[in-house]
Symmetry: C2
Subunit: 445 residues, 2 copies
């Protein structure tokens, strides 16, 4: 008998990270890193005894509004509870389509914002569950699928002027030879990473320099600094960081959408002499033409994607020649399926995918997608790096593992998405003990 999804459970989990200014940048001064966390319970064999019968997923937010995403996930309950556990590509394709094509819910986007992120959390939880049922980590589960199954997963609506199903199939077939060798190499060597931990805007110069040096000592070939609040500060910080890491290490910079196009051009002309590797989110993530103007108007390469709402906007960023790097986020779009569409679009244009991570559990999730891209889509890790931030991993059962500046390939079945039950209990908002113990004025809400 096919097992059934018996319940969808949602938790509003918030970490008071604003206490330490971890995660602070030019747009997000005091984030409380949070997750709207979903558990799909089933009656699969071992239910109640082993977590392999559960699917885990989440949206990442930075505090207030985590309750709104939780409400949106709850609204998706009727689409999964009482349904057979999705196991195959066909099942996962059909769930993804149902969640994103429901005509009434689609009105709330379409395919963007709270409702779309909630769909992504549920889709990802279903992938976690399906991969566990198959006994594989998600990157291996995906990498074992034939190209015909992989294209089935993709919603080509609004893409066919640029990428048809036939072209996608040809791309995937071209990457089939060498899958086994690349998977073996991944297991042996891991996937290249860079770290943002030194560069939060709220950190002192001393902390920046110390952490930058530690990053290099730990084997990272690239670090990232937040910029965009004050040009004088940014010049000083970039100079300090360059001195700390030496000429051989790449320094990416990230403005977190702080600028209008004219600001971005002015700022980047001033920062270009320090040879930043890329400027990330120079302006609004919706501003395709703005990114193209920034890329055309100054010498530093342009990256964006963590806030790009869906595959249609990524399509245009590539069409318009607006980006040098595509930064997928595992939990912003509608889950694995939509990220597969974005990986295929990037592969068609030959643009490297350098995933956004950090937050709560984003490193854990997105490593699977980058590894799958290497094995079965782009077939390359040249110029590709996954972001790494060393916060909050202790709350996960199967945390991302970094060795020598590289992500180790996950071996446990699933999506590495499961949070420790004791962390869920402690940080539940507003009723967990961590929040109950805080003064009212310290509570977000």
């Amino acid at each position: 008998m096919t097992p059934t999804v018996t319940e969808l459970e949602v938790h509003d989990i918030r970490f008071p990270t604003s206490d330490q200014l971890d995660g602070s940048d030019a747009m997000n001064g005091d984030p409380d890193y949070s997750a709207a966390y979903v558990v799909l319970h089933t009656d699969a064999p071992g239910a109640g005894e082993t977590e392999h019968s559960e699917g885990h997923g989440f949206c990442f937010t930075i505090g207030r509004g985590n309750d709104v995403i939780s409400a949106a996930i709850t609204a998706l309950r009727p689409y999964v509870v009482g349904r057979p556990v999705p196991c195959t590509a066909v099942d996962l394709a059909s769930l993804h389509r149902e969640l994103t094509h429901d005509s009434q819910l689609r009105w709330l986007g379409p395919e963007k914002g709270v409702m779309h992120m909630a769909a992504g959390a549920v889709v990802n939880a279903a992938w976690d569950l399906a991969a566990k049922q198959a006994g594989q980590p998600v990157w291996e589960f995906l990498s074992a699928m034939p190209p015909e199954d992989l294209v089935e997963l993709v919603d080509f609506r609004y893409l066919t002027d640029v990428l048809t199903r036939g072209e996608a199939l040809a791309l995937l077939r071209a990457a089939e030879p060498g899958r086994t060798e690349r998977a073996a190499r991944l297991r042996a060597e891991g996937y290249p990473a860079y770290t943002t931990s030194p560069g939060w805007l709220g950190y002192s110069d001393e902390k920046l320099v110390k952490l930058a040096q530690e990053a290099v000592a730990d084997g990272f070939g690239q670090i990232k600094l937040k910029v965009g609040a004050d040009l004088g500060d940014d010049v000083r910080r970039l100079r300090l960081a360059r001195a700390a890491v030496g000429p051989g290490v790449r320094i990416a910079i990230d403005a977190n959408q702080r600028w209008d196009v004219p600001d971005a051009l002015r700022w980047m002309r001033a920062l270009a002499p320090y040879e930043p590797h890329w400027i990330e989110e120079p302006t609004s993530p919706d501003d395709i033409l703005g990114h193209a103007a920034v890329r055309a108007g100054q010498p530093v390469k342009v990256a964006t994607g963590e806030h790009v709402a869906n595959r249609v906007v990524f399509k245009q960023l590539l069409q318009a020649g607006a980006v040098d790097f595509v930064q997928i986020d595992a939990a912003r779009v509608a889950g694995v399926n939509e990220n597969l569409a974005i990986l295929l679009l990037a592969a068609k244009y030959g643009v490297p995918v350098c995933p956004h991570a950090g937050g709560v559990g984003l490193c854990e999730l997105v490593q699977h997608l980058a590894m799958f891209d290497y094995v079965a889509v782009s077939g390359s890790w040249d110029d590709r790096v996954i972001e790494y931030v060393d916060h909050l991993h202790e709350h996960f059962i199967d945390p991302a593992v970094i060795e020598g500046g590289r992500y180790s390939a996950p071996r446990a079945p699933g999506f590495s998405a499961r949070m420790r039950p004791e962390s869920i209990a402690a940080y539940r908002y507003p009723d967990g003990p961590v929040w109950r113990a805080r003064e009212p004025e310290g509570v977000t809400g």
Copy 2:
């Protein structure tokens, strides 16, 4: 003493419109027109006795997910309750900025989807309240503001590559002469309208023909038909409609995002001989480059906007020469303030604004914005029409009034946003008597 906002009340109100296929189109087969409705209560003079002490606003949805928007509006309570009643342009500018710039809530968009629509509902409720306090309908309240106040209301972030504050001020100053005359003409003649009532996709040919003829008899110079499900049906329906209304009446058509770019081009080349006035939403509202390709690749003019998420996307539609008509929606973006930005962008490019309406209360709201545009921004109603749909007006205290195919200028103070208390009580979901009386399988949820 300045009065204070004492409470923010939210109602999930749904009308079972799917019973009659009112509102059915190629993407939205069975909408239950709904409103996530917000009331700002105050302690202003007359509180509890006159509705002039209350502000009313709402988001329009088509059923499922109305609860999610309601949760998002509820999350905005701390930004308004306990604060002084916003009365001036400065107050309304500051409320709008606070709601859209909160760094934690912004993460859920940014500036798109559920959270942004919720901000729009609260901003619009504040405008309703402020205009009532001033004793004016919103269109007059806005039209009486000096250009310096109007630019204060606009968030120019991400716009300055195309429209600076100085340019906006110059546009508004250029439209100052003649304000009084145009307002008087509006009061005397009303504002041109078109009607979509004949053209819902679920209607029979007989109903289409009958309603189209009635529309012409009622004085409308333009009607609109839904298209996009089946090309053969669309050709037949467009031919029937043309025969019914004669050559002098404009027939706009609306695909509601149904097509990819190649589909849109193929379809429009087949429909062009019937001389549709515009093709509306040929593809994804996010696809700026796609709209530009549709506009360039076939002879029919292109309109879009009801699902365009924010001013940044409108900016690009204009930059890219992707649209012939800008269709603002009163309740999709962040309220009056963001729509003012969009009106200014359209004025800069000389593109006519033809507002989207229908739904629940959208006619009531958006007429104020079009009339303000005529009086104080574009200064013109040439090629401009406001959509009209004759559904659900009976639920509003101050419904839109159509005479001879034109919107009569509202005279009652406020935004015409107030729903009848008995309608709120009857259609509350799921506890109102209309929903309690329905069979469980007929209940959305």
